[in-house]
């Protein structure tokens, strides 16, 4: 599916540009896109390295295992195929917590860590496991308690009640997370039957 989306974005863009005779702009877009990606990685590199370092301490001191044990009933239901005491479980929980607290970019390295731990349980490298799909589904549905960036933008625009968005955003993201979890569960069941 990613193959098709990637091709669709590129091909439709280039065809459209051909219709409106804006090939030079497309060339600029290619250069700018590639440069932006590298700029982002450079900006993110320090942060990823820093969090990975902290997480190594957390793992060596069994903090992640402790974390995993606390939320075991919930995660056992969400990730039935991950051993409850496996470090992957703790990493997944840490990443989900960071996302819920609205840590944004700080949550990304934790998510990457969780994916690496989940990959240790992967018998077919290169293909996503059920647990990876569930984890990504929960992450992309973004159950956020405090949308920090949005509140900051609203305050900057002169809102009388910048934080007034917390309630509606929390309700909407709870609904979308529920939709993601239910669909994921159904998908698992259907794909197992096949």
């Amino acid at each position: 599916m990613i193959n098709w989306i990637w091709f669709f974005l590129l091909a439709s863009g280039i065809v459209l540009a051909g219709c409106s005779d804006s090939a030079p702009q497309v060339t600029d877009a290619i250069l700018a896109g590639a440069r932006d990606a590298v700029t982002l990685v450079i900006g993110l590199m320090g942060l990823i390295a820093f969090w990975s370092g902290l997480m190594e301490i957390a793992e060596k001191s069994h903090l992640i295992k402790l974390f995993a044990r606390l939320l075991r009933p919930f995660t056992r239901w969400l990730f039935p195929d991950v051993p409850p005491d496996h470090p992957a479980m703790g990493a997944v929980i840490m990443s989900m917590t960071a996302n819920m607290l609205g840590m944004g970019n700080a949550a990304t390295p934790l998510g990457i860590k969780a994916m690496e731990k989940l990959d240790e349980l992967n018998s077919q490298p290169g293909t996503a496991t059920d647990a990876m799909c569930t984890f990504v589904a929960v992450t992309t549905s973004s159950l956020t308690i405090i949308p920090v960036t949005v509140i900051a933008l609203r305050a900057a625009a002169g809102s009388k009640d910048p934080a007034g968005i917390i309630g509606p955003a929390l309700a909407a993201s709870a609904i979308s997370t529920l939709a993601a979890v239910v669909t994921d569960k159904l998908w698992r069941r259907l794909s197992r039957r096949r």
């Binding site: 599916m1 990613i2 989306i5 974005l9 590129l10 439709s12 863009g13 280039i14 459209l16 497309v26 877009a29 290619i30 896109g33 990606a37 590298v38 990685v41 590199m45 990823i48 390295a49 820093f50 370092g53 190594e56 301490i57 957390a58 060596k60 001191s61 840590m103 998510g111 990457i112 994916m115 690496e116 490298p125 290169g126 996503a128 990876m132 799909c133 990504v136 589904a137 992309t140 549905s141 956020t144 308690i145 405090i146 949308p147 960036t149 609203r154 625009a157 809102s159 009640d161 007034g164 968005i165 509606p168 909407a172 993201s173 609904i175 979308s176 993601a180 669909t183 998908w187 794909s191």
Partner: protein, 178 residues
């Protein structure tokens, strides 16, 4: 009270973690400096590993947007959004959201400036931004980090939950603020 508590938590969460984890490590007798360096080294390798995936996705998204693909998508979606009673102003935000985090933030900023942060459009746009995610980016980075190219059902479910989050935000805001 609840809100100020939550804001305090989000402000202090990172410093508290950065103090707490090494402290816990010391108490448990871990050689924290060596462990940190070891982990950070792996982190650098991860950053390099996700780069090709990001380049692929960023170039495609940028080409698509530059050529006006977004506007075309928007025009195609208009009859549907009208029928559902969705404010047309927030539709561009919903379409760009899964593709580009900075793009969606700049659209949200524009909407807040133009319509006011406390208007129906401003509230709806804020709720949409807060309840959806840059799905394509998350999938690119997360799966890129472990070299997974067959993402199976992760992408459809991610896009589906963005759609549900968008519709829920529109509905809730139209009930609360219209």
């Amino acid at each position: 009270m609840l809100i100020s508590t939550m804001e305090a938590i989000s402000r202090w969460a990172i410093p508290a973690i950065v103090l707490g984890i090494p402290l816990w490590g010391l108490i448990r007798g871990v050689r924290i400096y060596e462990a940190f360096v070891e982990g950070a080294k792996q982190g650098l390798a991860t950053a390099v590993r996700i780069t090709p995936y990001l380049i692929a996705m960023f170039v495609a998204v940028r080409v698509f947007r530059t050529a006006g693909g977004m506007d075309l998508l928007l025009r195609a979606a208009t009859p549907l959004t009208k029928a559902l009673g969705i404010p047309p102003e927030v539709v561009p935000l919903a379409l760009i959201r899964p593709l580009s985090g900075s793009g969606s933030l700049s659209i949200l900023g524009e909407l807040l400036q133009t319509y006011g942060p406390d208007s129906l459009v401003g509230m709806t746009a804020s709720a949409v931004q807060g309840s959806t995610e840059t799905t394509l980016y998350v999938i690119t980075v997360y799966f890129g980090a472990v070299g997974v190219t067959r993402a199976r059902h992760a992408l459809p479910i991610g896009l589906w939950s963005d759609l549900v989050g968008f519709l829920a935000a529109v509905y809730i805001c139209s009930r609360l603020f219209a």
